[in-house]
Amino acid sequence: MGEDYFRQYGLIAVFLLIAVSVPIGMLMLSRVGTIVCMRPTRPTPTEPEPEPSDRTINPEEVKRRSQMVKLATYESGMRAVGSRWTRFNFRYYYFALLFVVFDVETIFLYPWAVRYGVLSETFGWVVLAEVVVFLAVVTLGYVYAWRKKALEWV
Protein backbone atom coordinates (compact mmCIF):
# COMPACT_ATOMS: atom_id res chain seq x y z
CA MET A 1 0.00 0.00 0.00
CA GLY A 2 2.74 2.43 1.01
CA GLU A 3 4.76 1.44 -2.04
CA ASP A 4 1.86 2.25 -4.34
CA TYR A 5 1.53 5.66 -2.69
CA PHE A 6 5.15 6.54 -3.31
CA ARG A 7 5.05 5.16 -6.85
CA GLN A 8 2.08 7.30 -7.85
CA TYR A 9 3.44 10.48 -6.32
CA GLY A 10 6.93 9.58 -7.52
CA LEU A 11 5.58 9.58 -11.08
CA ILE A 12 4.08 13.03 -10.51
CA ALA A 13 7.34 14.27 -8.97
CA VAL A 14 9.26 13.09 -12.05
CA PHE A 15 6.66 14.80 -14.23
CA LEU A 16 7.07 18.06 -12.31
CA LEU A 17 10.85 17.82 -12.62
CA ILE A 18 10.63 17.37 -16.39
CA ALA A 19 7.83 19.95 -16.72
CA VAL A 20 10.11 22.54 -15.09
CA SER A 21 13.16 21.54 -17.09
CA VAL A 22 11.35 21.70 -20.46
CA PRO A 23 10.83 25.51 -20.39
CA ILE A 24 14.32 25.99 -18.95
CA GLY A 25 15.70 23.86 -21.78
CA MET A 26 13.79 25.92 -24.33
CA LEU A 27 15.21 29.15 -22.92
CA MET A 28 18.71 27.61 -22.98
CA LEU A 29 18.24 26.51 -26.60
CA SER A 30 17.20 29.99 -27.51
CA ARG A 31 20.30 31.26 -25.69
CA VAL A 32 22.41 28.90 -27.80
CA GLY A 33 21.04 30.77 -30.79
CA THR A 34 22.83 33.86 -29.53
CA ILE A 35 26.10 31.99 -29.14
CA VAL A 36 26.07 30.61 -32.68
CA CYS A 37 24.99 34.01 -34.01
CA MET A 38 21.59 32.85 -35.21
CA ARG A 39 19.87 35.37 -32.98
CA PRO A 40 20.46 39.11 -32.89
CA THR A 41 22.04 40.08 -29.61
CA ARG A 42 21.33 43.77 -29.29
CA PRO A 43 21.38 45.55 -32.60
CA THR A 44 20.84 49.26 -32.96
CA PRO A 45 18.85 49.32 -36.20
CA THR A 46 19.70 52.86 -37.26
CA GLU A 47 21.74 55.08 -35.09
CA PRO A 48 19.62 58.17 -34.63
CA GLU A 49 21.07 61.49 -35.51
CA PRO A 50 21.97 63.26 -32.26
CA GLU A 51 19.93 66.31 -31.53
CA PRO A 52 21.65 69.64 -32.25
CA SER A 53 22.32 70.24 -28.60
CA ASP A 54 23.93 66.83 -28.28
CA ARG A 55 26.40 67.23 -31.15
CA THR A 56 29.26 67.26 -28.75
CA ILE A 57 28.42 63.87 -27.27
CA ASN A 58 30.59 61.07 -28.59
CA PRO A 59 29.12 58.27 -30.78
CA GLU A 60 29.31 55.75 -27.94
CA GLU A 61 26.96 57.88 -25.91
CA VAL A 62 24.54 58.17 -28.83
CA LYS A 63 24.49 54.39 -29.19
CA ARG A 64 23.94 53.92 -25.48
CA ARG A 65 21.03 56.34 -25.49
CA SER A 66 19.30 54.70 -28.42
CA GLN A 67 19.58 51.37 -26.64
CA MET A 68 18.15 52.95 -23.55
CA VAL A 69 15.03 53.79 -25.51
CA LYS A 70 14.81 50.26 -26.77
CA LEU A 71 15.30 48.79 -23.33
CA ALA A 72 12.71 51.02 -21.72
CA THR A 73 9.38 49.46 -20.79
CA TYR A 74 6.75 49.77 -23.48
CA GLU A 75 4.31 52.58 -23.01
CA SER A 76 2.68 53.52 -26.32
CA GLY A 77 5.97 54.71 -27.78
CA MET A 78 6.34 57.58 -25.37
CA ARG A 79 8.89 57.64 -22.60
CA ALA A 80 7.37 56.08 -19.49
CA VAL A 81 6.61 58.57 -16.74
CA GLY A 82 6.88 57.45 -13.16
CA SER A 83 7.42 53.97 -11.85
CA ARG A 84 5.28 50.86 -12.07
CA TRP A 85 4.04 51.43 -8.52
CA THR A 86 0.78 53.14 -9.34
CA ARG A 87 -2.23 53.37 -7.09
CA PHE A 88 -5.00 50.88 -7.52
CA ASN A 89 -8.66 51.01 -6.77
CA PHE A 90 -9.75 49.56 -3.45
CA ARG A 91 -12.29 47.29 -5.11
CA TYR A 92 -9.58 44.74 -5.87
CA TYR A 93 -9.21 44.39 -2.12
CA TYR A 94 -12.94 43.71 -1.68
CA PHE A 95 -12.82 40.84 -4.10
CA ALA A 96 -9.69 39.40 -2.54
CA LEU A 97 -11.45 39.32 0.84
CA LEU A 98 -14.58 37.73 -0.62
CA PHE A 99 -12.42 35.15 -2.38
CA VAL A 100 -10.77 34.11 0.88
CA VAL A 101 -14.17 33.57 2.55
CA PHE A 102 -15.68 31.49 -0.23
CA ASP A 103 -12.55 29.56 -1.12
CA VAL A 104 -12.28 28.34 2.46
CA GLU A 105 -15.91 27.28 2.14
CA THR A 106 -15.07 25.08 -0.85
CA ILE A 107 -12.28 23.40 1.10
CA PHE A 108 -14.86 22.26 3.66
CA LEU A 109 -17.32 21.17 0.99
CA TYR A 110 -14.99 18.87 -0.95
CA PRO A 111 -14.40 16.08 1.60
CA TRP A 112 -18.10 16.17 2.47
CA ALA A 113 -19.14 15.83 -1.18
CA VAL A 114 -16.87 12.84 -1.76
CA ARG A 115 -18.28 10.89 1.20
CA TYR A 116 -21.83 12.21 0.80
CA GLY A 117 -23.25 9.19 -1.03
CA VAL A 118 -22.00 6.76 1.64
CA LEU A 119 -22.92 8.98 4.59
CA SER A 120 -26.44 9.75 3.37
CA GLU A 121 -27.22 6.03 3.20
CA THR A 122 -26.46 5.67 6.92
CA PHE A 123 -27.51 9.02 8.35
CA GLY A 124 -30.16 10.16 5.87
CA TRP A 125 -31.13 13.81 5.40
CA VAL A 126 -29.09 15.02 8.41
CA VAL A 127 -25.92 14.97 6.27
CA LEU A 128 -27.45 17.36 3.74
CA ALA A 129 -29.13 19.51 6.39
CA GLU A 130 -25.83 20.15 8.16
CA VAL A 131 -24.19 21.44 5.02
CA VAL A 132 -27.25 23.50 4.09
CA VAL A 133 -26.96 25.20 7.49
CA PHE A 134 -23.27 25.81 6.85
CA LEU A 135 -24.04 27.20 3.39
CA ALA A 136 -26.80 29.38 4.84
CA VAL A 137 -24.32 30.99 7.25
CA VAL A 138 -21.88 31.74 4.44
CA THR A 139 -24.65 32.87 2.10
CA LEU A 140 -25.81 35.31 4.77
CA GLY A 141 -22.40 36.98 4.49
CA TYR A 142 -22.76 36.90 0.72
CA VAL A 143 -26.14 38.62 0.85
CA TYR A 144 -24.68 41.21 3.24
CA ALA A 145 -21.82 41.86 0.81
CA TRP A 146 -24.30 42.24 -2.05
CA ARG A 147 -26.50 44.63 -0.06
CA LYS A 148 -23.46 46.67 0.89
CA LYS A 149 -22.60 46.91 -2.85
CA ALA A 150 -19.29 45.12 -2.37
CA LEU A 151 -20.04 43.11 -5.51
CA GLU A 152 -20.48 46.16 -7.73
CA TRP A 153 -17.53 46.80 -10.02
CA VAL A 154 -17.87 50.54 -10.31
Partner: protein, 420 residues
Amino acid sequence: MPDPFDSILYRYVYCTLSSTGDAECAGHGLFGGGLLPGGLEWLAFPLTAAIIVAALINGILGGVLMMIWGERRLLGRFQGRTGPNRWGPFGLLTPIADAVKTMFKEDVVPTVSDRLVFTLAPIMMLAPALLIYAVLPIGAGTWLADINVALLLIIAVGGANVLAILAASLGSGNRYAMFSAMRAVAMLISYEIPLVISLIGVLMLSGSLSLVAIVDAQTIPFFIVQPLGFFVFLVASMAELNRTPFDVAEAESEIVAGYMTDYSSMKFGLFFLSEFAATIATSGVITAVFLGGWHGFDPIPSQFWFVAKMVAVLTVIVWIRASWPRLRIDQIMNFAWKALFELTLINLVVSGLLVLAWPSPSTAELWYMAGINWVVFLVSIYIFGRVLGPKHDSVRAGNIQSGVVLSDSDAPAIPAGGGD
Protein backbone atom coordinates in the same frame (compact mmCIF):
# COMPACT_ATOMS: atom_id res chain seq x y z
CA MET B 1 -4.58 3.91 -3.08
CA PRO B 2 -4.97 2.71 -6.68
CA ASP B 3 -2.36 0.31 -7.96
CA PRO B 4 0.07 1.91 -10.45
CA PHE B 5 0.01 -1.35 -12.40
CA ASP B 6 -3.62 -0.57 -13.30
CA SER B 7 -2.11 1.67 -15.93
CA ILE B 8 -1.33 -0.50 -18.94
CA LEU B 9 1.14 2.15 -20.07
CA TYR B 10 3.07 1.98 -16.80
CA ARG B 11 2.98 -1.81 -16.60
CA TYR B 12 4.20 -2.21 -20.16
CA VAL B 13 7.19 0.11 -19.85
CA TYR B 14 8.08 -0.96 -16.32
CA CYS B 15 7.94 -4.65 -17.11
CA THR B 16 10.06 -4.17 -20.21
CA LEU B 17 12.77 -2.64 -18.04
CA SER B 18 12.52 -4.48 -14.75
CA SER B 19 14.28 -7.79 -14.33
CA THR B 20 13.11 -8.51 -10.76
CA GLY B 21 10.18 -10.54 -12.01
CA ASP B 22 7.36 -8.84 -10.13
CA ALA B 23 4.18 -10.88 -9.91
CA GLU B 24 2.31 -8.14 -11.81
CA CYS B 25 4.79 -8.37 -14.66
CA ALA B 26 4.16 -11.97 -15.68
CA GLY B 27 3.68 -12.05 -19.44
CA HIS B 28 3.87 -8.27 -19.96
CA GLY B 29 6.50 -6.08 -21.49
CA LEU B 30 8.55 -6.09 -24.65
CA PHE B 31 11.18 -8.82 -25.30
CA GLY B 32 9.90 -10.80 -22.32
CA GLY B 33 10.98 -8.01 -19.97
CA GLY B 34 14.11 -7.50 -17.90
CA LEU B 35 16.13 -5.26 -20.18
CA LEU B 36 18.00 -3.72 -17.25
CA PRO B 37 20.99 -5.77 -16.09
CA GLY B 38 21.19 -7.03 -12.50
CA GLY B 39 22.23 -4.41 -9.99
CA LEU B 40 20.46 -1.65 -11.88
CA GLU B 41 16.87 -2.68 -11.05
CA TRP B 42 16.40 0.47 -9.00
CA LEU B 43 16.62 2.38 -12.26
CA ALA B 44 13.46 0.69 -13.57
CA PHE B 45 11.07 3.06 -11.81
CA PRO B 46 12.73 6.43 -12.62
CA LEU B 47 13.38 5.31 -16.20
CA THR B 48 9.76 4.23 -16.64
CA ALA B 49 8.59 7.55 -15.30
CA ALA B 50 10.99 9.51 -17.51
CA ILE B 51 10.02 7.58 -20.65
CA ILE B 52 6.27 8.01 -20.16
CA VAL B 53 6.62 11.65 -19.14
CA ALA B 54 8.84 12.42 -22.14
CA ALA B 55 6.30 10.79 -24.43
CA LEU B 56 3.45 12.72 -22.81
CA ILE B 57 5.19 16.09 -22.98
CA ASN B 58 6.15 15.55 -26.60
CA GLY B 59 2.53 14.68 -27.29
CA ILE B 60 1.41 17.87 -25.55
CA LEU B 61 3.84 20.05 -27.52
CA GLY B 62 2.72 18.42 -30.76
CA GLY B 63 -0.87 18.94 -29.71
CA VAL B 64 -0.19 22.61 -29.01
CA LEU B 65 1.29 23.09 -32.49
CA MET B 66 -1.73 21.36 -34.00
CA MET B 67 -4.07 23.50 -31.96
CA ILE B 68 -2.38 26.74 -33.00
CA TRP B 69 -2.86 25.70 -36.60
CA GLY B 70 -6.40 24.42 -36.04
CA GLU B 71 -7.51 27.51 -34.18
CA ARG B 72 -6.15 29.86 -36.84
CA ARG B 73 -7.75 27.85 -39.63
CA LEU B 74 -11.06 27.63 -37.83
CA LEU B 75 -11.09 31.32 -36.92
CA GLY B 76 -10.31 32.05 -40.55
CA ARG B 77 -13.32 30.04 -41.63
CA PHE B 78 -15.52 31.78 -39.08
CA GLN B 79 -14.45 35.14 -40.44
CA GLY B 80 -14.73 34.22 -44.10
CA ARG B 81 -11.02 33.99 -44.84
CA THR B 82 -8.75 31.04 -45.45
CA GLY B 83 -6.37 31.14 -42.52
CA PRO B 84 -2.73 30.05 -42.86
CA ASN B 85 -2.39 27.95 -46.02
CA ARG B 86 1.05 28.59 -47.49
CA TRP B 87 3.59 26.53 -45.63
CA GLY B 88 2.98 22.79 -45.95
CA PRO B 89 -0.29 21.07 -46.89
CA PHE B 90 -3.21 23.21 -45.62
CA GLY B 91 -0.66 25.40 -43.88
CA LEU B 92 0.12 22.60 -41.43
CA LEU B 93 3.75 23.62 -41.00
CA THR B 94 2.96 27.25 -40.12
CA PRO B 95 3.22 26.76 -36.33
CA ILE B 96 6.60 25.05 -36.75
CA ALA B 97 7.87 28.03 -38.71
CA ASP B 98 6.44 30.28 -36.00
CA ALA B 99 8.16 28.27 -33.28
CA VAL B 100 11.55 28.51 -34.98
CA LYS B 101 11.06 32.21 -35.59
CA THR B 102 10.05 32.84 -31.98
CA MET B 103 13.03 30.97 -30.67
CA PHE B 104 15.58 33.02 -32.61
CA LYS B 105 14.18 36.47 -32.03
CA GLU B 106 16.05 39.04 -30.06
CA ASP B 107 15.54 38.77 -26.33
CA VAL B 108 14.88 42.27 -25.02
CA VAL B 109 14.91 42.64 -21.25
CA PRO B 110 13.83 46.10 -20.06
CA THR B 111 16.35 47.87 -17.86
CA VAL B 112 13.85 48.49 -15.06
CA SER B 113 12.84 44.83 -14.92
CA ASP B 114 13.61 42.43 -12.12
CA ARG B 115 15.62 39.96 -14.19
CA LEU B 116 15.14 36.89 -12.00
CA VAL B 117 11.36 37.23 -11.66
CA PHE B 118 11.13 38.27 -15.31
CA THR B 119 12.79 35.01 -16.39
CA LEU B 120 11.04 32.81 -13.85
CA ALA B 121 7.49 33.91 -14.74
CA PRO B 122 7.17 32.01 -18.07
CA ILE B 123 8.55 28.88 -16.43
CA MET B 124 6.04 29.26 -13.59
CA MET B 125 3.33 29.58 -16.20
CA LEU B 126 4.22 26.54 -18.31
CA ALA B 127 5.12 23.98 -15.62
CA PRO B 128 1.65 23.89 -13.96
CA ALA B 129 -0.08 23.80 -17.33
CA LEU B 130 1.91 20.68 -18.17
CA LEU B 131 1.50 19.10 -14.73
CA ILE B 132 -2.27 18.74 -15.23
CA TYR B 133 -1.57 15.99 -17.79
CA ALA B 134 0.09 13.85 -15.10
CA VAL B 135 -3.30 12.70 -13.78
CA LEU B 136 -5.32 12.91 -16.99
CA PRO B 137 -6.56 9.49 -18.18
CA ILE B 138 -6.30 9.58 -21.98
CA GLY B 139 -7.77 6.14 -22.54
CA ALA B 140 -8.63 2.90 -20.78
CA GLY B 141 -5.45 1.99 -18.89
CA THR B 142 -3.57 4.88 -20.48
CA TRP B 143 -2.54 7.29 -17.76
CA LEU B 144 0.62 8.23 -15.96
CA ALA B 145 -0.58 8.36 -12.36
CA ASP B 146 -3.94 7.66 -10.78
CA ILE B 147 -4.01 9.35 -7.37
CA ASN B 148 -7.16 9.61 -5.27
CA VAL B 149 -7.01 13.42 -5.08
CA ALA B 150 -6.49 13.96 -8.81
CA LEU B 151 -9.22 16.56 -9.22
CA LEU B 152 -7.93 18.54 -6.24
CA LEU B 153 -4.44 18.46 -7.77
CA ILE B 154 -5.80 19.77 -11.07
CA ILE B 155 -7.62 22.64 -9.35
CA ALA B 156 -4.62 23.52 -7.19
CA VAL B 157 -2.17 23.39 -10.08
CA GLY B 158 -4.55 25.15 -12.44
CA GLY B 159 -4.84 28.04 -9.99
CA ALA B 160 -1.08 28.58 -10.00
CA ASN B 161 -1.16 30.70 -13.14
CA VAL B 162 -2.36 33.65 -11.03
CA LEU B 163 1.08 33.70 -9.42
CA ALA B 164 2.82 33.49 -12.79
CA ILE B 165 0.83 36.43 -14.18
CA LEU B 166 1.61 38.51 -11.10
CA ALA B 167 5.28 37.55 -11.30
CA ALA B 168 5.40 38.47 -14.98
CA SER B 169 3.96 41.91 -14.41
CA LEU B 170 6.01 42.65 -11.32
CA GLY B 171 9.13 41.41 -13.08
CA SER B 172 8.70 43.46 -16.22
CA GLY B 173 8.01 46.69 -14.35
CA ASN B 174 5.49 47.88 -16.91
CA ARG B 175 2.37 49.76 -15.94
CA TYR B 176 0.19 48.08 -18.55
CA ALA B 177 1.38 44.79 -17.11
CA MET B 178 0.40 45.90 -13.62
CA PHE B 179 -3.12 46.81 -14.77
CA SER B 180 -3.35 43.47 -16.50
CA ALA B 181 -2.16 41.58 -13.44
CA MET B 182 -4.63 43.30 -11.13
CA ARG B 183 -7.49 42.56 -13.51
CA ALA B 184 -6.32 39.00 -14.05
CA VAL B 185 -6.01 38.28 -10.35
CA ALA B 186 -9.42 39.78 -9.60
CA MET B 187 -11.01 37.79 -12.42
CA LEU B 188 -9.21 34.51 -11.82
CA ILE B 189 -9.93 34.37 -8.11
CA SER B 190 -13.57 35.25 -8.75
CA TYR B 191 -14.03 32.45 -11.25
CA GLU B 192 -12.07 30.01 -9.10
CA ILE B 193 -15.03 29.70 -6.71
CA PRO B 194 -17.79 28.69 -9.19
CA LEU B 195 -15.23 26.47 -10.93
CA VAL B 196 -14.54 24.55 -7.73
CA ILE B 197 -18.12 24.36 -6.43
CA SER B 198 -19.55 23.30 -9.81
CA LEU B 199 -17.64 20.01 -9.53
CA ILE B 200 -19.33 19.07 -6.26
CA GLY B 201 -22.36 17.54 -7.99
CA VAL B 202 -20.03 15.25 -9.91
CA LEU B 203 -18.18 14.31 -6.72
CA MET B 204 -21.46 13.33 -5.04
CA LEU B 205 -22.32 11.02 -7.93
CA SER B 206 -18.89 9.46 -8.34
CA GLY B 207 -17.85 9.39 -4.67
CA SER B 208 -14.21 9.90 -5.59
CA LEU B 209 -11.76 12.61 -6.60
CA SER B 210 -9.76 10.24 -8.81
CA LEU B 211 -10.32 11.02 -12.48
CA VAL B 212 -10.18 7.32 -13.38
CA ALA B 213 -12.94 6.58 -10.86
CA ILE B 214 -14.99 9.53 -12.16
CA VAL B 215 -14.73 8.25 -15.73
CA ASP B 216 -15.66 4.74 -14.55
CA ALA B 217 -18.72 6.11 -12.75
CA GLN B 218 -20.08 7.66 -15.95
CA THR B 219 -22.47 5.06 -17.33
CA ILE B 220 -24.07 8.09 -18.98
CA PRO B 221 -21.92 11.20 -19.46
CA PHE B 222 -22.21 13.60 -16.52
CA PHE B 223 -22.98 16.60 -18.71
CA ILE B 224 -26.42 15.04 -19.18
CA VAL B 225 -26.85 14.39 -15.47
CA GLN B 226 -25.27 17.69 -14.34
CA PRO B 227 -26.13 20.31 -16.98
CA LEU B 228 -25.81 23.20 -14.54
CA GLY B 229 -22.43 22.00 -13.25
CA PHE B 230 -21.22 21.49 -16.82
CA PHE B 231 -22.32 24.94 -17.93
CA VAL B 232 -20.71 26.69 -14.97
CA PHE B 233 -17.52 24.66 -15.26
CA LEU B 234 -17.21 25.38 -18.98
CA VAL B 235 -17.70 29.13 -18.51
CA ALA B 236 -15.49 29.36 -15.44
CA SER B 237 -12.68 27.41 -17.06
CA MET B 238 -12.85 29.67 -20.11
CA ALA B 239 -12.30 32.56 -17.70
CA GLU B 240 -9.48 30.70 -15.94
CA LEU B 241 -7.82 30.28 -19.33
CA ASN B 242 -7.99 34.03 -20.03
CA ARG B 243 -9.62 33.34 -23.37
CA THR B 244 -12.06 35.50 -25.24
CA PRO B 245 -14.68 36.65 -24.14
CA PHE B 246 -12.87 36.78 -20.78
CA ASP B 247 -9.53 38.10 -22.02
CA VAL B 248 -9.48 41.43 -20.18
CA ALA B 249 -6.04 40.51 -18.81
CA GLU B 250 -4.48 40.75 -22.25
CA ALA B 251 -6.98 43.02 -23.95
CA GLU B 252 -4.90 44.16 -26.89
CA SER B 253 -7.07 47.17 -27.68
CA GLU B 254 -6.78 48.53 -24.14
CA ILE B 255 -3.56 47.50 -22.46
CA VAL B 256 -1.28 46.35 -25.33
CA ALA B 257 -0.70 42.69 -24.42
CA GLY B 258 -1.22 42.91 -20.68
CA TYR B 259 1.31 41.03 -18.62
CA MET B 260 3.16 39.90 -21.76
CA THR B 261 3.81 43.42 -23.05
CA ASP B 262 7.54 43.47 -22.38
CA TYR B 263 8.22 39.85 -23.22
CA SER B 264 9.89 38.87 -26.44
CA SER B 265 11.57 35.89 -28.03
CA MET B 266 11.25 32.51 -26.31
CA LYS B 267 9.95 33.96 -23.07
CA PHE B 268 6.91 35.22 -24.95
CA GLY B 269 6.82 31.87 -26.73
CA LEU B 270 6.57 30.08 -23.40
CA PHE B 271 3.55 32.19 -22.40
CA PHE B 272 1.95 31.39 -25.71
CA LEU B 273 2.74 27.71 -25.32
CA SER B 274 1.41 27.51 -21.78
CA GLU B 275 -1.82 29.23 -22.78
CA PHE B 276 -2.48 26.60 -25.43
CA ALA B 277 -1.25 23.73 -23.24
CA ALA B 278 -3.64 24.86 -20.50
CA THR B 279 -6.50 25.10 -22.99
CA ILE B 280 -5.92 21.54 -24.17
CA ALA B 281 -5.54 20.35 -20.58
CA THR B 282 -8.82 22.00 -19.60
CA SER B 283 -10.61 20.41 -22.52
CA GLY B 284 -9.14 17.11 -21.34
CA VAL B 285 -10.48 17.68 -17.84
CA ILE B 286 -13.91 18.60 -19.22
CA THR B 287 -13.85 15.44 -21.33
CA ALA B 288 -12.89 13.24 -18.39
CA VAL B 289 -15.26 14.78 -15.86
CA PHE B 290 -18.33 15.60 -17.95
CA LEU B 291 -18.19 13.90 -21.34
CA GLY B 292 -17.60 10.34 -20.23
CA GLY B 293 -13.83 10.29 -20.80
CA TRP B 294 -12.67 7.37 -22.88
CA HIS B 295 -16.08 5.66 -23.08
CA GLY B 296 -17.43 5.06 -26.57
CA PHE B 297 -18.47 2.09 -28.59
CA ASP B 298 -16.22 -0.79 -29.13
CA PRO B 299 -14.27 -1.28 -32.36
CA ILE B 300 -12.77 2.19 -32.05
CA PRO B 301 -10.01 2.35 -29.38
CA SER B 302 -10.69 4.31 -26.19
CA GLN B 303 -7.77 6.69 -26.74
CA PHE B 304 -9.33 7.80 -30.00
CA TRP B 305 -12.62 8.50 -28.25
CA PHE B 306 -10.90 10.65 -25.67
CA VAL B 307 -9.00 12.69 -28.25
CA ALA B 308 -12.11 13.07 -30.42
CA LYS B 309 -14.08 14.45 -27.49
CA MET B 310 -11.22 16.76 -26.59
CA VAL B 311 -11.12 18.11 -30.13
CA ALA B 312 -14.88 18.65 -29.97
CA VAL B 313 -14.50 20.68 -26.76
CA LEU B 314 -11.65 22.69 -28.28
CA THR B 315 -13.80 23.42 -31.32
CA VAL B 316 -16.55 24.75 -29.07
CA ILE B 317 -14.01 26.92 -27.24
CA VAL B 318 -12.76 28.39 -30.52
CA TRP B 319 -16.35 28.83 -31.66
CA ILE B 320 -17.12 30.83 -28.51
CA ARG B 321 -14.03 32.93 -29.16
CA ALA B 322 -15.20 33.64 -32.69
CA SER B 323 -18.75 34.50 -31.63
CA TRP B 324 -18.50 36.75 -28.58
CA PRO B 325 -16.86 40.13 -28.22
CA ARG B 326 -14.78 40.85 -25.14
CA LEU B 327 -16.89 41.54 -22.08
CA ARG B 328 -16.35 44.55 -19.88
CA ILE B 329 -14.65 43.87 -16.56
CA ASP B 330 -17.74 44.87 -14.56
CA GLN B 331 -19.88 42.49 -16.62
CA ILE B 332 -17.37 39.73 -16.00
CA MET B 333 -17.25 40.27 -12.25
CA ASN B 334 -21.03 40.57 -11.99
CA PHE B 335 -21.44 37.35 -13.93
CA ALA B 336 -19.07 35.47 -11.64
CA TRP B 337 -20.43 36.72 -8.33
CA LYS B 338 -24.11 37.26 -9.02
CA ALA B 339 -24.90 34.52 -11.52
CA LEU B 340 -22.41 31.66 -11.56
CA PHE B 341 -21.89 31.53 -7.80
CA GLU B 342 -25.60 31.22 -7.09
CA LEU B 343 -26.12 28.73 -9.90
CA THR B 344 -23.47 26.51 -8.30
CA LEU B 345 -25.23 26.75 -4.93
CA ILE B 346 -28.53 25.74 -6.56
CA ASN B 347 -26.77 22.87 -8.28
CA LEU B 348 -25.20 21.77 -5.00
CA VAL B 349 -28.47 21.65 -3.07
CA VAL B 350 -30.46 20.03 -5.90
CA SER B 351 -27.77 17.39 -6.47
CA GLY B 352 -27.70 16.75 -2.73
CA LEU B 353 -31.44 16.15 -2.66
CA LEU B 354 -31.29 13.88 -5.71
CA VAL B 355 -28.46 11.77 -4.31
CA LEU B 356 -30.43 11.58 -1.05
CA ALA B 357 -33.39 10.21 -3.01
CA TRP B 358 -31.30 7.75 -5.05
CA PRO B 359 -28.10 6.83 -3.23
CA SER B 360 -25.62 4.92 -5.46
CA PRO B 361 -27.84 5.43 -8.53
CA SER B 362 -28.28 2.91 -11.32
CA THR B 363 -28.33 3.99 -14.96
CA ALA B 364 -32.12 4.39 -14.96
CA GLU B 365 -31.98 6.49 -11.80
CA LEU B 366 -29.26 8.63 -13.38
CA TRP B 367 -31.71 9.37 -16.20
CA TYR B 368 -34.36 10.48 -13.66
CA MET B 369 -31.77 12.76 -12.08
CA ALA B 370 -30.87 14.12 -15.50
CA GLY B 371 -34.50 14.97 -16.21
CA ILE B 372 -34.94 16.89 -12.96
CA ASN B 373 -31.56 18.59 -13.33
CA TRP B 374 -32.37 19.77 -16.84
CA VAL B 375 -35.62 21.31 -15.64
CA VAL B 376 -33.73 23.05 -12.82
CA PHE B 377 -31.03 24.14 -15.28
CA LEU B 378 -33.42 25.69 -17.81
CA VAL B 379 -35.64 27.34 -15.19
CA SER B 380 -32.72 28.83 -13.24
CA ILE B 381 -30.99 30.06 -16.40
CA TYR B 382 -34.24 31.71 -17.47
CA ILE B 383 -34.79 33.34 -14.07
CA PHE B 384 -31.20 34.58 -13.84
CA GLY B 385 -31.45 35.92 -17.36
CA ARG B 386 -34.52 37.91 -16.32
CA VAL B 387 -33.02 39.15 -13.07
CA LEU B 388 -29.50 39.98 -14.25
CA GLY B 389 -30.09 40.41 -17.99
CA PRO B 390 -29.31 43.37 -20.25
CA LYS B 391 -32.18 45.44 -18.80
CA HIS B 392 -30.38 45.45 -15.48
CA ASP B 393 -26.97 46.24 -16.89
CA SER B 394 -26.13 49.38 -14.96
CA VAL B 395 -24.63 51.07 -18.03
CA ARG B 396 -27.46 50.32 -20.43
CA ALA B 397 -30.11 51.22 -17.89
CA GLY B 398 -28.46 54.59 -17.58
CA ASN B 399 -28.09 54.36 -13.82
CA ILE B 400 -24.43 55.09 -14.16
CA GLN B 401 -22.86 57.66 -16.36
CA SER B 402 -21.57 55.44 -19.11
CA GLY B 403 -18.16 57.06 -19.29
CA VAL B 404 -17.35 55.99 -15.76
CA VAL B 405 -17.51 52.31 -16.55
CA LEU B 406 -16.38 52.40 -20.14
CA SER B 407 -13.26 54.39 -19.53
CA ASP B 408 -11.13 51.91 -17.76
CA SER B 409 -10.77 53.09 -14.21
CA ASP B 410 -8.28 50.57 -12.91
CA ALA B 411 -6.43 53.40 -11.26
CA PRO B 412 -8.25 56.20 -9.51
CA ALA B 413 -8.14 59.48 -11.36
CA ILE B 414 -5.44 61.79 -10.17
CA PRO B 415 -7.09 64.94 -8.80
CA ALA B 416 -6.68 68.02 -10.96
CA GLY B 417 -4.82 69.85 -8.23
CA GLY B 418 -1.80 67.60 -8.61
CA GLY B 419 -0.82 63.95 -8.44
CA ASP B 420 1.05 62.05 -5.79
